[in-house]
Symmetry: C2
Subunit: 311 residues, 2 copies
């Protein structure tokens, strides 16, 4: 497999009802590549500053992540500071310091240009296309975005969408992007923009997948404790794309398993701050929660004689 | 099967973004008994006024509903007037006229006292227990409630809950009743109040079922058009209890099918105003949507070799 991710590497400061952390490892590329690493190595395109701790790079390398495309630039690393309220659904940004991320121009090492699977993390859609243009013949391209780009760079985002196979969005973003409140109509509209599949993430309510006439609903694993929702979406994408790249086929049942695995990885990521839970996560734990997800959603056929005859 | 329902019979006036209706058939007992009627007859305990149209009684009778416990009292029928905003999730009550419902004292005809399955619709929890006291040996009792009773008659509601097998609530009610925000903790707390099972309805996000260590997540069928959410909860309960009473066993897989059928009946109920969609619904359509729900939620086991070896 060859899986490429472009995104952020960040130092996050977080406040949740359960505690706080200062300058811990974060960023879409870190969550994504760590989750994908359970299935195979990912190639990272990102930028950090001179102050970025070597121990974080050592951790990613220990997960088999390819860091040839991670450049260190003069200046400070991207920092994000956020607070979550009691319901943990909405992140309130308290401070954003782009630092070296402000001038990020993704450049792929020559060895990355043959990547088959590509994940365009939530960055400026202009930059997302810059990455795509450097990949020779991508087989499957997935992309993330957010309300900020939908609002401020809609035309550029639509140009990116014409070139991707799958879009990850949450339900609010799906509504904003499509102008449709009904989520089925929103998904159909988004498919008309170019992607052949869309995954609508609904947090604790799971995820919906739409592609042609195919619809799949994955329930989220109901968690007793959610500590830190940061990185849930990128963990979902990492599990999804890691599995997809490992499988090497994009048939419907593979996509369904990929969505459940994405949901499983996200469910682990939110159990502790930063990437702490992912650091000591095992393949057996992923298998176990996948089996629980099957048990959670399973029901069988209806008996023949249980509905009354037509009146 | 012998299935009893106590609840309201109402004339509803509705405003939705898609249109409005004046004084159409409504009320928990009507939605419940009509949905249950696909599986077998239900016995109704309710009250109407002198002005209640005979055609509505004829319709219920045509569905095999037993109306021996439906009394007609001097005065006007219960009326509810509500408006739904664009998101269709929240009902805003514009007017409530209790009329004959204000002095409702549920009295069971002698023939109803052997009922095995009982649904206590969303009425004063004092009255719910009055009904239970008239049933000789109920086998399975389910109950609905709402924020008004949780707030104003909490002690009485807790007394009712000690005597029921299953509680239907939506997620906001589950949180209000338990004082727990996390839905898993909320469900566990509610189970400690007495019921051996709880169904948490989440509207377009489906439903969760908790009983002991058993958890089941049913996805809602994603609908293109939702016209009128009135009666969705009672339709869910009607499909659930109708199927359960017909099955006659309360084993885990039966409960799972019952939840999916409840979700299926609710999905039809909201497609048109009042009970209009249910009037011309067929058993084949119910079977068809159940099959679609299976397809919607289905995914298979993970391959053995897809996760990397432990690092």
């Amino acid at each position: 497999m060859s899986l490429l991710v472009v995104g952020s590497v960040a130092l996050d400061s977080l406040e949740t009802p359960f505690g706080q952390r200062q300058e811990v490892l974060g960023g879409s590329a870190c969550y994504f590549s760590t989750c994908a690493s359970f299935f195979g190595p990912a190639r990272v395109v990102a930028v950090v500053g001179e102050d970025f701790p070597q121990e974080h790079l050592d951790f990613l390398a220990s997960r088999g992540v390819d860091l040839a495309g991670l450049v260190r630039k003069p200046g400070r690393t991207f920092r994000w500071k956020g607070r979550y309220e009691f319901d943990l659904n909405t992140a309130h940004t308290l401070d954003t310091q782009l630092n070296v991320f402000a001038d990020f121009k993704p450049e792929l090492p020559e060895a990355y240009r043959d990547s088959e699977y590509v994940f365009l993390g939530n960055i400026d859609p202009d930059l997302q296309r810059t990455v795509l243009e450097q990949v020779r013949a991508p087989r499957f391209v997935a992309c993330d975005t957010m309300n900020f780009w939908i609002d401020s760079k809609r035309d550029s985002l639509l140009r990116t969408l014409r070139r991707v196979d799958l879009l990850f969005v949450n339900d609010a973003e799906a509504r904003q992007l499509s102008g449709e409140h009904n989520i089925v109509k929103a998904a159909r509209r988004i498919l008309s923009y170019g992607p052949r599949a869309v995954v609508v993430k609904r947090g604790e309510h799971g995820a919906l997948y739409f592609s042609g006439s195919e619809v799949f609903a994955a329930s989220a694993y109901p968690l007793l404790d959610v500590f830190d929702p940061t990185g849930a979406g990128d963990s979902f994408a990492g599990g999804f794309m890691g599995y997809l790249a490992r499988s090497g086929v994009e048939e419907p049942m593979v996509m369904r398993r990929a969505i459940v695995l994405g949901s499983v990885l996200a469910s682990f990521a939110v159990e502790q701050f930063s990437l702490e839970r992912l650091r000591h996560l095992t393949a057996d734990e992923i298998r176990g929660r996948y089996a629980e997800a099957r048990q959670l959603a399973h029901f069988d056929d209806l008996e023949d004689d249980v509905l009354g005859t037509e009146r």
